[in-house]
């Protein structure tokens, strides 16, 4: 690893492959080339620790701050990228996510789920989520009580599993491997500020890299890969406008558009008909991984209702409302100042009548002191101290009432977009302006799925899900776009008129620039993106490897017929010792 700030100003660096961004995607990609003859330069803006000045390069503006968090939140500009703070939830995209659905404009991937399956297996290894098995039938055959006893539904399946990563910090986990590899060079504190095209705009000839100490370096490579997150891919493409004035890959005004997150939140109040009929907590698989079941809307139901993908989990009641009478939840409310922004968002809001509410929560803690203490002990030992972290707080509510925690697909929408703003950062790059928007179709996905779930719960007699349909839209968008899932800003497809990258994740019409990022996802699925980001990076690695065929057989010693290896060679080997 090299600190770019220690290099000489104006220095030129060259490599076979230049990867921009050392997060989950960039590191996974670089690891694929360890031990090969291919020289890889991995550029990372940050160092090995968080740094406010560097993080500030991510700052930007948001059109409606109620709907989207500031762009320097939920992503980390440092070695390891946002995998240094992620929650670790790993879920593959479903078959339906890859299909062109007539009722979802601009849906459809250029390949199907089967194409990605082998990469999901390898990605699971890198994310340390054990084997790639995401149904409880495979992982817990006949050993689990039903998720909700008596719940029968042809619309929802409780068989699919989310598996949880350690959560793996890719920098910590794989940094040593990259350091040890002779053919991989990691350049820290190196900010790519522009890619330069040849006059015809068909090929990247080089890149400008700057440091916060004022140095400027040049990088040349045969192949460039943007492995930054979904927001920064758009920013870098738009900012690289010396030859193509609208930005690279933006001939059809697509870069930065179709920006998706997920529609997520908690709503409703589920009252069970009988107590203790729910088993919704984390299970541990035989390979030691935390797994959790969820209620997934089947593809049949999606087709029938003509809505997007959707899953729901049983959740504790809303923490801010003290009527749950649960000490541990009230403790979290009281301690919210100490909880990181990215995980405490849902603890804030409703700031009126503060003192009264605070007292009610304090009363909950005192009345439920044993529950609160055992929660804290559990959290401290299984999460704070553990290397494989207990993923999240699951509390059995004192009131026997649950809420529904949902995570739904957001549909591609041309008007939801990021652009370059007017002010620039410390390196002179224009900052991002985020104008995230949702549509009535997105609300409809949740409205209809929740309605169906309520009906199925009622019909199978397990309980009643109460919610107020008239405030549903407000509830759904209460926390705005789900943080950290930045999708679609350089969408993938076969047709250059409707996509930025081709099915190999290469920018249309630029022969050596690739993107390894959720930016290329044409649709967002119900699933969290990281596992798929890593799988796509591995797929890209396999594609790039085809540019570097192994040397001809007659030149490699392994291909010499074994019988002719002969004594002389062995003697030579021993003699060399």
């Amino acid at each position: 690893m090299i600190d770019a700030r220690s290099l000489q100003d104006g220095l030129s660096l060259s490599a076979d492959i230049c990867i921009v961004g050392a997060g989950a995607a960039g590191i996974s990609l670089a690891l694929e080339f360890v031990g090969t003859e291919i020289n890889v330069l991995l550029l990372e803006s940050g160092g090995t620790k968080a740094d406010k000045k560097i993080q500030n390069l991510y700052a930007g503006s948001v059109t409606d701050s109620h709907l989207h968090s500031p762009p320097d939140r939920y992503r980390q500009r440092r070695f390891g990228g946002s995998s240094t703070i992620w929650g670790g939830r790993c879920v593959p995209f479903d078959d339906i996510d890859f299909q062109t659905r007539s009722y979802i404009p601009n849906s459809g991937w250029p390949f199907d789920r089967n194409t990605l399956d082998p990469y999901y297996h390898r990605a699971s290894r890198l994310c340390e989520t054990g084997r790639f098995a995401h149904t409880s039938q495979e992982v817990f055959p006949d050993t689990l009580r039903p998720m909700i006893d008596g719940f029968r539904s042809s619309n929802f399946s409780s068989d699919t599993l989310e598996r949880f990563s350690v959560p793996t910090d890719f920098g910590m986990r794989y940094g040593d491997k990259l350091r040890a590899a002779r053919n991989i060079h990691v350049l820290l504190h190196a900010n790519l500020t522009a890619l330069h095209l040849n006059a015809g705009g068909t090929s990247v000839t080089g890149a400008t890299v700057k440091t916060l100490t004022g140095l400027s370096l040049k990088v040349t490579a045969n192949t460039f890969v943007l492995a930054t997150g979904g927001l920064e891919v758009a920013r870098l493409l738009l900012a690289s406008n010396d030859v193509q004035h609208e930005g690279i890959g933006n001939d059809h005004d697509l870069v930065g558009r179709y920006y998706m997150c997920h529609i997520a939140g908690t709503l409703g109040s589920l009252t069970l008909a009988r107590p203790d009929t729910v088993r919704h907590h984390y299970e541990v698989s035989d390979d030691g991984v935390y797994c959790r079941r969820r209620l997934a809307l089947t593809s049949n139901a999606q087709h029938r209702l003509k809505i997007g993908n959707f899953i729901a989990r049983l959740h504790h009641p809303r923490i801010t409302d003290p009527s749950h009478r649960t000490g541990s939840l009230s403790f979290l409310y009281i301690a919210k100042a100490f909880i990181p922004y990215e995980y405490g968002k849902r603890l804030h809001g409703e700031e009126s009548a503060r003192l009264k509410k605070w007292l009610q929560h304090a009363t909950n803690v005192l009345l439920d002191l044993p529950g609160t203490i055992s929660f804290l002990i559990h959290w401290f030992s299984r999460h704070t101290l553990a290397r494989r972290k207990f993923p999240s707080i699951i509390v059995k509510p004192q009131s026997q009432r649950y809420s529904i925690d949902f995570h739904a697909e957001q549909q591609p929408n041309r008007d939801s977009r990021v652009t370059l703003g007017d002010d620039s950062d410390a390196l002179g790059m224009l900052r991002l302006k985020v104008d995230w928007r949702y549509t009535s179709a997105d609300v409809d996905t949740v409205r209809r799925a929740i309605g169906l779930l309520a009906a199925d719960l009622h019909d199978s007699g397990v309980g009643t899900l109460d919610y107020d349909p008239s405030t549903l839209e407000a509830e759904i968008t209460r926390y705005g776009a789900y943080g950290g899932h930045h999708i679609g800003t350089a969408r993938m497809g076969s047709d250059p008129r409707s996509s930025v990258v081709n099915p190999d994740a290469r920018i249309h019409n630029v022969d050596n620039l690739f993107v390894a990022s959720s930016a290329v996802f044409p649709t967002s699925s119900q699933a969290n993106p990281t596992l798929t980001i890593v799988a796509m990076a591995l797929k890209l690695a396999d594609h790039i490897k085809t540019f570097y065929p192994p040397p001809p057989a007659f030149l490699t010693r392994q291909e010499v017929p074994v019988r002719e290896v002969g004594r002389a060679k062995v003697k030579h080997a021993v003699g060399a010792a």
Binding site: D287, R563, A576, A577
Partner: protein, 324 residues
């Protein structure tokens, strides 16, 4: 047809016992089992007791044998002295016997990546590995030697790679090692090693050659530990932090080593096993080395026992011996 007389040096060890037995039932060989310290008589097998560095005794034992297998374990000094004696005595025989010499993957030292037999022998992993490189040098000057370089030999009864690892897994001292367990685990199932030795004794045209022995596409140590724990019926191994591994190797290992020596004096009869994780083992867990063994596959005609199968047998063996 005359049977081939094979002198097995180190016949009381884990590998030596298996080799002796396999030769006994092979139909084409008569093993002569040579022991130094302990004697574990196998019915119907000729044996002799001697020190492998004792020239006179070795010369006597070699008088009427056709081949020698050397499975002697020992400290660095005795490895070198043993090899010097073995090859010089053998060279003086009227008809020098073929010698199958068991070396180790440690001769490649700290090398990483895919390693075939033509890679240089660095021997830079401490005294054991440099002693084995010196021993191979003696073998090189002997025209009828076949050198085998196995990885980690495991199987039921393997104290180093099956019993020890099982005990450490059970006591939660090993588990998911994170980056420290990303090295590759070049395993050889004991039966495969024995098959290799028997082939090395018989095949024509392989004298002067060295062969790596390891299952192809070896798993990482983390994968191996997880699979082995499953086979042993244990709960999934927990992650072991880097700090804990440092405590194990830097503080606990020297202490346990001393405790083991003290125990030998105080209560020599007691068979309490003291398992140590020395720094060298931890280094191996992290070493990204893959032994290429296709040469042995082709020239010795070997078939590798799949790891899944081998670990099932190793775990079953462990459960049987530790139930009592």
């Amino acid at each position: 047809m005359n049977k081939v007389r094979v002198l097995v040096l180190g016949a009381s060890g884990f590998i030596g016992q298996h080799v002796t037995l396999a030769l006994q039932i092979s139909g084409w060989a008569i093993p002569i089992a040579a022991y130094h310290r302990s004697r574990r008589a196998i019915p119907g097998i000729r044996e002799c007791s001697m020190d492998a560095t004792d020239e006179a005794a070795l010369g006597q034992a070699m008088l009427d044998v056709d081949a020698v297998v050397n499975c002697v374990a020992g400290g660095p000094a005795s490895i070198v002295a043993g090899a010097r004696t073995l090859f010089s005595i053998a060279a003086k025989q009227p008809v020098p016997p073929r010698i199958v010499y068991l070396s180790t993957m440690s001769v490649y030292g700290t090398a990483t990546g895919e390693i075939d037999e033509s890679n240089p022998l660095r021997g830079d992993l401490g005294e054991y590995s440099s002693a084995k490189v010196s021993a191979e040098r003696f073998a090189k000057h002997y025209p009828r030697a076949v050198i085998l370089r196995p990885g980690c030999v495991y199987g039921p009864g393997s104290s180093q790679w099956s019993e020890r690892i099982a005990s450490l897994l059970i006591s939660h001292r090993l588990g998911n090692l994170g980056p420290a367990g990303d090295g590759r685990c070049n395993l050889v199932y004991i039966d495969d090693l024995v098959a290799a030795i028997l082939q090395a004794l018989q095949r024509p045209g392989i004298e002067g050659q060295a062969f790596n022995l390891s299952v192809p596409a070896p798993p990482t140590w983390n994968q191996y530990l997880l699979l082995y724990a499953q086979k042993l019926g244990l709960a999934p191994p927990k992650p072991i932090s880097a700090a804990r591994l440092a405590i194990e190797t830097l503080l606990l290992a020297p202490f346990l080593k001393v405790a083991g020596i003290v125990k030998r004096f105080v209560a020599p009869a007691q068979t309490i096993e003291v398992q140590v994780i020395p720094p060298s083992l931890l280094r191996l867990f992290g070493q990204d080395i893959v032994l290429r063994s296709d040469k042995a596959e082709h020239m010795l005609g070997l078939h590798w026992t799949p790891i899944n199968e081998g670990l099932t047998l190793a775990a079953a063996g462990f459960r049987t011996t530790h139930r009592a």
